[in-house]
Every structure is written in structure tokens, then in C-alpha cells.
């Protein structure tokens, strides 16, 4: 197991494509954070970016997760490395764990970090503003780790079922494209069962808008955002994410342990 992990780390650290991909996403998200600030109708700020464009903080990360998980977990099926690992006496459990655990945990961490990138770049250029509180926003972004973990575990399951890096990547692309559409069609459920809804709930700040009548401008709106996050949301996000991730990974291993290898 230790050797397998070392091998995986070695492969990843020596993989230029991995660095390029990660770097590309980080730069793209940083630029996006600034561009969204520049195109804001209102006074731009990092807080405003979070409440106005919540999907920016999680949507593109699904693609990152899919690509990395697909590469780590399904890549070895194609180049036959996995067969050599089996033939060299490693148990399937060790092989599975050495791929699945780092893939899910690392990609979830990376996705969480990428979520913070546009906020940081926007904050550097435009400041934090007074729309929402920093503490609440940081907690919410940090909690995104858990639904990202669940998403990564799901892609891990698909990777071991399909043995296809391309299929996992394609699924990530579809999820990225249709995630928001699906939510708009279905509406928010406050349901933690699907990671997308959980992520959206985390980024959805309770608001209240009121207005006043202004002799010059007519109706003038004021909106306040509640940055606090309920205990139910925190525990629900953590518990359900860990539980569902475990189910996905157990299912993935269960399938892999006796599966025929071509």
C-alpha cells in the first residue's frame, strides 16, 4: 500500500499535464474573479461576487475533479499499469485504496482551494466590501470540501465501473454544463443528498430585500444578506457527505474486487 502510494505520488508529481491543468484552472478562476468584478453593475467587491455568482465557486470544479479522478483511477486500466500492480502481488483492496483515497481527498481539497481563488483575486482588486461577513463566507467555502469529496467519490465509482478516463471526464463536463440548468428546472430543495444541491445551499445566503419610496428615483431596493450558517447545515453537509462518499467508495471497491480485467 505504502509503495503504491509512493508510486502514485511519484507519477503525479512528475506529471507535467497535472501541473498545467491545475495551474490553468487557478489562473482562469483568478481572472474570472476580476472580470466578474469589472462587469458588475454595482460597486464590485468579493462579498458581492459571492452572493451574485455563487455557481462560480463550485461549478467549474466539477470538471477538475472529473479529470483528475478519471486520470488517477481509470488511467491505469488503459496503460495496463494496474495489471502489473496486481501481478506484483498487491491486493486489490490496497490498489483500490491507493488510488481512490488520494484521488477523492486531494481533488476535494484542490477544488475547495480553487473555489477560493476568484474570491481572493476579486478581493485583491476590489476589496471585501460590506455585503457579507468574511467569517461566514470562509466557513461556507471550507465546507465545500465535503460535497466535493462526495462528488469525487462518485466519479471514483464511475471510474472503476467504466474503466474509462474519457467517460468520467465526459460525465464531469455534462455535470458542469447541466448542473445549474438542473437546479433551475428543479429548484432548490435544501436537500443534501446530491452534492450539487449541497454546494448551492452552502453558497446560497439568506436574503431580505426591502424598499423605500424616493421622490426622485421611485422604488429604491436594499438587500441584506445573512452570512451565518446553521448548525444543521454544517452537520448535515459533513455527515451526509462522509456517509455517501463511503457508500460510493465501498460500491466501487465491491465492484473492483472481483471484476474481470481485460
Amino acid at each position: 500500500m505504502k509503495k503504491l502510494l509512493s508510486s502514485l505520488s511519484y507519477q503525479s508529481l512528475r506529471n507535467g499535464a497535472f501541473y498545467r491543468l491545475t495551474g490553468l484552472f487557478i489562473v482562469a478562476m483568478a481572472v474570472l474573479g476580476v472580470v466578474l468584478g469589472l462587469s458588475s453593475d454595482d460597486v464590485p467587491s468579493a462579498g458581492k461576487l459571492i452572493v451574485d455568482s455563487p455557481s462560480v465557486l463550485w461549478l467549474f470544479q466539477t470538471m477538475v475533479i472529473a479529470i483528475i479522478v478519471g486520470t488517477v483511477c481509470a488511467g491505469d486500466f488503459k496503460d495496463k499499469d494496474l495489471y502489473y500492480e496486481i501481478m506484483s502481488g498487491h491486493s486489490r483492496l490496497n490498489i483500490f485504496l491507493s488510488k481512490a483515497i488520494p484521488a477523492t481527498v486531494f481533488t476535494a481539497l484542490l477544488a475547495t482551494l480553487i473555489s477560493a481563488v476568484p474570491v481572493i483575486s476579486n478581493c485583491i482588486f476590489f476589496g471585501w466590501g460590506d455585503v457579507i461577513e468574511v467569517k461566514g463566507a470562509v466557513i461556507r467555502i471550507a465546507l465545500c470540501f465535503f460535497p466535493f469529496l462526495r462528488l469525487a467519490a462518485f466519479f471514483t465509482l464511475i471510474a472503476f465501473l467504466s474503466k474509462s478516463r474519457m467517460l468520467v471526464t465526459a460525465l464531469g463536463y455534462i455535470a458542469m454544463c447541466f448542473g445549474v440548468v438542473l437546479q433551475n428546472i428543479i429548484g432548490s430543495h435544501s436537500s443534501f443528498l446530491l452534492s450539487f444541491f449541497n454546494l448551492q445551499d452552502l453558497m446560497d445566503y439568506d436574503t431580505w430585500s426591502i424598499y423605500n419610496l424616493n421622490p426622485a428615483g421611485g422604488i429604491v431596493m436594499h438587500t441584506a444578506y445573512d452570512s451565518s450558517i446553521s448548525g444543521r447545515m454544517i452537520t448535515g453537509t459533513i455527515m451526509i457527505s462522509i456517509l455517501v462518499s463511503a457508500v460510493y467508495l465501498i460500491a466501487g471497491y465491491g465492484f473492483f474486487r472481483k471484476n474481470d480485467l481485460d
Binding site: F154, L157, L161, L182, I186, H189, S191, L193, L194, F196, F197, T207, W208, S209, I210, Y211, N212, L213, N214, P215, A216, G217, G218, I219, H222, T223, A224, V247, Y248, I250, A251, G254, F255, R257, K258, N259, D260
Partner: protein, 567 residues
């Protein structure tokens, strides 16, 4: 989603036979069967809310996954069988017992209640005791949820919102069909008549089935499709039961199932709308009493010969359509376009305003210059033609922009500056309005207008009823101060004028007063307080007489307009 649940069931059943099949085909691809329910459950989960009824489905998913770790055929069959039963239990819970249908009545109430408690602007003024309201209504919503009683849910919402005695507090169900069904259930049975109380104190029958201008149950298909389902089997043959007994529009009703109408009125516990002022509620109360009773009621009445008689009236259907029809006959205004003028005779013209909206461009802003100019030209035209009386018909004016109100009333106001209201200082952090140390809202921007006094050669009569609300109330309130204005109607206007907002839950939405309109003295204008005395004056309450009943319900005339013309 039901299809996907059946698919999971089919896979579980297939899983039962799988061990035998796998023996013939030596491939591990069959193991996908054990993972498939998990994938399907993932597909289903976005479309369902968590409900204990789905627990069986999720259990089945786990059971099927367990089989990835065992090769014992007997055990696999047993687990697959258990999974199939588990899914079936879920299907029964969801599809037969409807456990997954509908939202959480209690949850929706708690959600809306919390928002209202935080943002309702008349809490102090109306003496709202939120804790006791919660204690009173939460158990009702819990019961409605437990018993899956959408009628009780709807009725509880109506009752809850009516506790505020605020015309801006209301409930609108998300499903209009189920709301109409609920209202058909809530407001009782139709015995073929409505009731009103004359100013003299006598109760009379109105909108009696079979009278020429009355609502006819045979026409339900046109306007009351949902109510058609409530018509009794004998409705068609029984519909003339009252007329045949000599009871018609205007007949004095003496008893209802042996009780006085006052006693029956005490049984009324919910209305379609909210009545902020007590006297408006009293005017419409007898109408609601006419739905009270079982399959039939004994109605005591005075016939045309002056004799007291009794008729046994069978329920024809749901009372709700007749009640609404009666309200409309009483409350409808002149049927011309908004802001249109119409001459009534050589000296009197009517200006109809049924909403305070001119066009979409002006509605969000404050510039009604174009509208004011348009109305100004008409006013000047009628003045120059020698008209002496202008009747402004605000009946059923549902409100709109206060700036439009200013744009109209400035034409009739005495010269000089007049206040509409002050806005309140906003706390931008909490999106609430600031109250000062004296408990009053802190005044912010002043909204006023300059009077032009264009109708100083004659008088103005404003026609109102309880459906004159919000900006309609405001216009009545502002013009009440002008020396040549008389406000009249069977009832006063609604007396609800703080600006409104709404909040939606899964099952429906509530509206409530959320933006203060403050007067010069710092008090909120117009809305009733705990004593439920109207905040908008009425100069002349038009008596509801036998003549009025005859004109409105038998001849279909606009009695109030005629009264105003001849006043």
C-alpha cells in the same frame, strides 16, 4: 421518478434470479446489476425531497451493494429478495399512501412565520403577539400535515392571516385548483341564497337562485368549473326551491335552522379576505353566515303577504361561488378603462380608477408627468363644458403606486404643498426600518405634491368599498382633506396602506405590510390599530335599503353610482 423506482424494483427482482443466470455465463459484468440501483437512486435524488417513505429505496440500494461482497447464491437471493420487498414498501408509501406528495405544511408555516415576525412593520401598532399566534396556529398546521388535510392547511392560513386585520396580509396557495377546492369546502353549502343586513337591521335574501339577475348554478361551467363537482345530484331539480316557496331577493329572513341570524354569524370563523376595520367586517358577515348548515336548512322568512313562513332548503352545492358573486354585485365599479372619464348626465361625470398603475415604465419610478397631463386635459375639458360634479370611482381599487396617486390628486388638491407620506430610515445591515426612542419609525424622505385646484367650481364624490385598498386607500385618505370632497359607499375603504411585500414557500405565498408610510406626526398612516377603527374617513355611509337590494340584485343597476349622482 416513479418509473425509476419501478426500475430499481425490477433490478432487485432480477438480482434474485441473477445467481442462477451467472452460472451459465462466466462474466463479472453481472456485478453491475448490484451497483445499478445506486446509480438510479442518484438520478432520482435531485427530484425528490427527503421523506421517510424513500427509506426503503435507499435500504434496497445498500442491500444490493452488499452482494458485491458475497458469492453465496442463497444469501444473494435472500438479500435481493429483501431489497425488492424494501423497494416495494417505498413504492407503497410514496404512491399509495402519498407520503412523498406535497410539502411540509408545518415547515412552510414555520418558514413564513419567521420571516413575517422579523419584517412585519405593524407589529407594535396592531399589538401582534407572535408567541400566542404561533402557539395557536402551529398545532393546526401540524394536524393538517399529520392528516394530510389540505383543506385544514388552507383554512389555517386564511385564519392566521386574518388575525392581523391587515388587508395586505394574505395567503395565496401555489396550486390554484386546490385552493379553489379548499374554498368550496371551507365556506359551506349553497342553499340558493346569500344574506345581507339592511341598515334598518333586518336580514334579507339576495342573489337568490332562480331570480333573473342572480347567479345560476346551471352556468357554473362558464365561470366556476371547479364548483361544478360540488353540485348535488338533485341540484337542477331543487334549484327553484326558494322561489317556489315565495322567497326571493329582498325577502326578510328571520331564522336559520331555528336560530337567529346573529347566532349563525357567531359560527363564522374564517373569511375569504381580511377586514381591518370592524364595521366593514360586520357589513359582510351575514354573507358568510348563509353557508352554514348541513344537507339542508330550515329558513324562516316573511313572504309577500307579510306572513312568516319556513322553507326547507336543500344544499345545492358549494356556497363559495354564490358568495363571491354576491361580493362582486355589491363591489364592482363602473366598467370602463382605468383613468377613463364618462359623462353620467349634463352636470356629472365619472372618473374610473381601479388600479394605481399607468404603464410599466412609470410603475417602478416616480415620474407620472405624462399621466398627470393626460388626466389634466380631461379634467379641464369637463370643467370647461360646465360639469359641476365629478365622481371618482375607486371601488375595487386594488392599489399600486403612491406616486401615481400623487399625480392624480395634485389636480384636485387646494393650491400649495401637500404631504403624501414620509419613507422610513432603513438599517441596511438588517434590511429593517429604524424605530426611534419613542417607538415610532424614523422619518426619511418626504414625498409630497403641489395642488392645482382644477375642480374648484364643483364638488367631488369618491366612491369606495372595502376592496379599495393600499394606494386606493391612500388616495381616499389624501382627498378626504379637500373641502369639496365627499367620500361615500356602503362601507369605508379597506384601511391598509403600508407598502407590501411577499414571501413564497413550497405550498404558497404570503403577502404582508413591509414598508412603512409615515405621516407628519411620525405615526403610520391609515392602517387600523388594535381598536380596528378605520384610518380613512367615510363622510357618508350609503344606507343599504330594500330599494338598494332591488336595484342591485333584481335590476342589475349601479345603485351606488346613481346614489352619488343624486346626492
Amino acid at each position: 421518478m416513479d418509473m425509476l423506482m419501478f426500475l430499481i424494483l425490477a433490478i432487485c427482482i432480477f438480482g434474485f434470479f441473477l445467481p442462477s443466470i451467472r452460472k451459465k455465463y462466466d462474466s463479472s459484468i453481472w456485478r453491475l446489476v448490484y451497483v445499478a440501483p445506486l446509480i438510479l437512486a442518484v438520478l432520482i435524488s435531485p427530484f425528490i425531497k427527503w421523506n421517510i417513505g424513500y427509506a426503503g429505496m435507499y435500504l434496497a440500494v445498500i442491500l444490493m451493494l452488499l452482494q458485491l461482497f458475497t458469492e453465496k447464491q442463497g444469501l444473494n437471493k435472500l438479500i435481493s429478495g429483501g431489497a425488492a420487498v424494501s423497494v416495494m414498501v417505498s413504492i407503497i408509501c410514496i404512491m399509495v399512501l402519498n407520503m412523498g406528495v406535497g410539502g411540509s405544511y408545518t415547515g412552510d408555516f414555520e418558514e413564513a412565520f419567521a420571516v413575517m415576525k422579523e419584517h412585519y412593520v405593524l407589529t407594535e401598532e396592531k399589538g401582534i403577539d407572535w408567541d400566542s399566534l404561533y402557539a395557536k396556529y402551529h398545532p393546526l398546521f401540524e394536524r393538517a400535515e399529520r392528516e394530510k388535510d389540505e383543506i385544514l392547511d388552507h383554512k389555517s392560513w386564511l385564519q392566521f392571516t386574518q388575525e392581523f386585520h391587515d388587508g395586505h396580509v394574505g395567503y395565496l396557495a401555489a396550486d390554484s385548483q386546490s385552493a379553489e377546492r379548499a374554498e368550496c369546502e371551507i365556506f359551506g353549502n349553497d342553499y340558493g341564497l346569500s344574506l345581507l343586513r339592511l341598515t334598518s337591521g333586518e336580514y334579507v335574501a339576495v342573489n337568490v337562485e332562480g331570480c333573473e339577475k342572480s347567479l345560476n348554478i346551471l352556468d357554473y361551467g362558464k365561470d366556476y368549473e371547479y364548483a361544478e363537482n360540488y353540485l348535488s345530484d338533485d341540484a337542477e331539480s331543487d334549484r327553484l326551491q326558494l322561489l317556489n316557496a315565495g322567497l326571493h331577493n329582498g325577502s326578510v329572513i328571520t331564522t336559520w335552522n331555528g336560530k337567529s341570524i346573529e347566532e349563525i354569524e357567531k359560527e363564522v370563523d374564517v373569511y375569504v379576505e381580511t377586514f381591518p376595520s370592524k364595521d366593514n367586517e360586520e357589513f359582510y358577515l351575514p354573507m358568510y353566515a348563509a353557508g352554514k348548515g348541513g344537507d339542508s336548512v330550515e329558513i324562516g322568512f316573511i313572504d309577500d303577504s307579510g306572513m312568516e313562513k319556513t322553507v326547507k332548503a336543500k344544499a345545492l352545492g358549494a356556497y363559495y361561488p354564490r358568495m363571491i358573486s354576491t361580493v362582486n354585485k355589491l363591489d364592482d365599479g363602473v366598467n370602463i378603462s382605468n383613468l377613463d372619464f364618462q359623462p353620467v348626465n349634463s352636470e356629472t361625470a365619472v372618473l374610473r380608477i381601479y388600479q394605481m398603475a399607468y404603464d410599466s415604465k412609470s410603475y417602478e419610478g416616480s415620474d407620472y408627468t405624462a399621466m398627470t397631463e393626460e388626466v389634466r386635459q380631461k379634467v379641464l375639458e369637463y370643467r370647461d363644458r360646465g360639469y359641476k360634479r365629478l365622481i371618482i370611482d375607486l371601488r375595487k381599487n386594488g392599489g399600486g403606486s403612491p406616486f401615481m396617486v400623487g399625480g392624480v390628486v395634485q389636480l384636485f388638491a387646494p393650491e400649495g404643498e401637500h404631504l403624501i407620506s414620509y419613507s422610513a430610515v432603513i438599517n441596511e445591515k438588517t434590511a429593517t426600518y429604524e424605530r426611534g426612542a419613542d417607538g415610532k419609525y424614523v422619518k426619511d424622505q418626504k414625498i409630497s405634491y403641489m395642488g392645482e385646484n382644477l375642480w374648484d367650481q364643483g364638488d367631488i364624490i369618491i366612491l369606495v368599498n372595502y376592496e379599495t385598498v393600499s394606494a386606493g386607500d391612500m388616495m381616499t385618505y389624501l382627498m378626504a382633506e379637500y373641502p369639496n370632497v365627499t367620500i361615500m359607499g356602503f362601507t369605508g375603504s379597506n384601511s391598509s396602506c403600508q407598502a407590501v411585500t411577499s414571501y413564497s414557500t413550497a405550498s404558497g405565498g404570503i403577502s404582508f405590510s413591509a414598508v412603512p408610510n409615515i405621516g407628519e406626526d411620525g405615526e403610520l398612516i391609515i392602517d387600523t390599530r388594535t381598536d380596528r377603527v378605520r384610518g380613512v374617513p367615510i363622510d357618508h355611509v350609503i344606507p343599504l335599503t330594500e330599494e338598494a337590494i332591488d336595484a342591485i340584485f333584481d335590476r342589475g343597476e349601479d345603485y351606488l353610482l346613481d346614489y352619488a349622482v343624486n346626492y
